[in-house]
Symmetry: C2
């Protein structure tokens, strides 16, 4: 009997899943605006059965990544400490039904006395490594809380979180800058790149953000331009910060890979290019490749990697 | 006949004024929660007369600093470009009634293609210079939009704005950090200094802010500690940013002077001390000294400097 895999990414604000056959072909996709924040405690099993119960035929395996494994989720799948490889994830699945339904753990790391965490991005990273047959890369996963992760010899060695997307929402919706900003105006590349350029100057983000105000006062930045400029300031600041720790004598530089939705990836690729950095972009659909690779690792007879 | 001075600081959110005699003695003080944002267009004269009309006896001079001179205020007093000295302010007063009632202009400066502005802080700075008989100093004016201003030979040569206070409000009230933060918890010096220390590490503000989240996840930062930590991150970031432009070979370093309310000045003084920087603090009441010095400059026979 050929087994099926239900691969699910259950995040803070959305619930997405695909049904895959034993050769990694996607048979069906579903998405719901039903992130973990909207699910009352104790109701995760019910929501799961309501949304995906008809896919759970006998023998089907279900793997769930993302915030469903957090303390506020279905059940806590404790973080795996970095450095962590693909096998570490497979060894620390949180089984809800043995050999049938499991939550994938997130990763943690300590920078001196401060911890950092990810949940869901690790599956995307390993999915991309499997898809591209890579062992080494620097990943950028843009978003509300962007992640930069360094992979060497197939292990996630280092990563850091940047609250870039959240700062963008705060500044364009709740700060004094919101008064002169149309947050939904179309993206303007030239204005965005002015923001990127400004972010590389002396002054820091607390100062650069104010330039969106002072430029508006001097009628040098219109309300339809402001969100592109602020986006450039923040993405530029993220790139500057992520690279400032790199020093001469460090390990050799890694190829940059952006994993994310196409709009946001385009902005990062533009900013990196303007700063003289080459990168590749990949869709965040690599989640499914990552979960399938985990299924193969667990049951190599049932799930055949096709890459 | 001895003339009186009405010195007014009319800001975004408050209206404060004092009546002074010709020797700079304060005879009476008034304060109202009636900043320019709460005054309808065309009503500034009325509000002024309602609040201070009884002080406007014949021969009295009234000088008003702050946002009342902005485009959204009583009447626009265009910015004086820096470098600017005390005499530049005096020469560019915006007279509403000749020799009786004037608005003090703010200052502007260009850093490459971005402008920066202040309104009200310039009067505090010149007030402090007069009070202390100084010609050179580096001023820090903490607040919603903090200012760092460099004075040499009695002129404001450089200044920059940092949105530190506003970022604090955004992060502690509107961001994901607000979920694990009691914004009104008492200030804790040791936690504040952990934030200051973190702000000096690699990673940048977008990353450091996330440590307030991850430390809370690992139960290393409680809700009553979080606002002190975030305050330390932001004030530390402001200090780091303000100093990063200073390079060997620049003009000699200046003494640091903090002008502000006592609580906030204390935080800045703590952070500066932890970073090995000496500073002095002065109350922001120097506004009155600054406006009196302007009155003396305009009418030296009527207003006698006593310093």
């Amino acid at each position: 009997m050929s087994r099926h895999l239900i691969a699910i990414d259950w995040g803070t604000s959305s619930l997405r899943g695909v049904l895959m056959d034993s050769q990694a072909q996607v048979l069906e996709k579903r998405a719901f605006p039903q992130g973990i924040l909207s699910v009352p405690a104790g109701q995760f099993q019910n929501v799961f059965e309501q949304r995906f119960g008809d896919w759970m035929t006998p023998g089907t395996l279900c793997l769930i990544s993302g915030m469903a494994g957090s303390r506020q989720g279905w059940r806590e799948a404790p973080y795996c400490p970095c450095p962590a490889g693909f096998e570490d994830l497979a060894a620390h699945l949180q089984w809800i039904e043995k050999d049938q339904l499991a939550l994938v753990p997130g990763l943690s790391i300590w920078h001196a006395w401060t911890p950092d965490v990810m949940r869901g991005e690790e599956v995307q990273i390993f999915g991309a490594l499997h898809s591209l047959q890579l062992q080494d890369a620097q990943f950028i996963l843009p978003g509300t809380h962007s992640k930069w992760a360094e992979v060497r010899a197939g292990q996630i060695r280092q990563f850091k979180t940047y609250m870039t997307g959240e700062f963008f929402a705060l500044l364009t919706q709740h700060s004094i800058l919101a008064k002169t900003c149309l947050p939904d105006a179309p993206w303007k590349k030239d204005i965005f790149l002015q923001g990127v350029s400004q972010s590389q100057c002396d002054g820091g983000l607390l100062h650069h953000a104010f330039t969106a105000r002072s430029l508006a006062l001097f009628e040098k930045l219109g309300p339809a331009q402001s969100s592109s400029y602020i986006s450039g300031l923040l993405i530029g600041e993220e790139i500057r910060s992520a690279r400032e720790g790199k020093r001469q004598g460090d390990a050799p530089p890694l190829d940059l890979l952006i994993l994310g939705n196409s709009q946001l990836s385009l902005r990062y690729a533009c900013a990196l290019e303007a700063l003289g950095l080459a990168c590749q972009t990949l869709s965040d659909e690599v989640t499914w490749a990552g979960l399938f690779a985990l299924a193969h690792n667990l049951f190599p007879q049932d799930f055949k990697a096709t890459a």
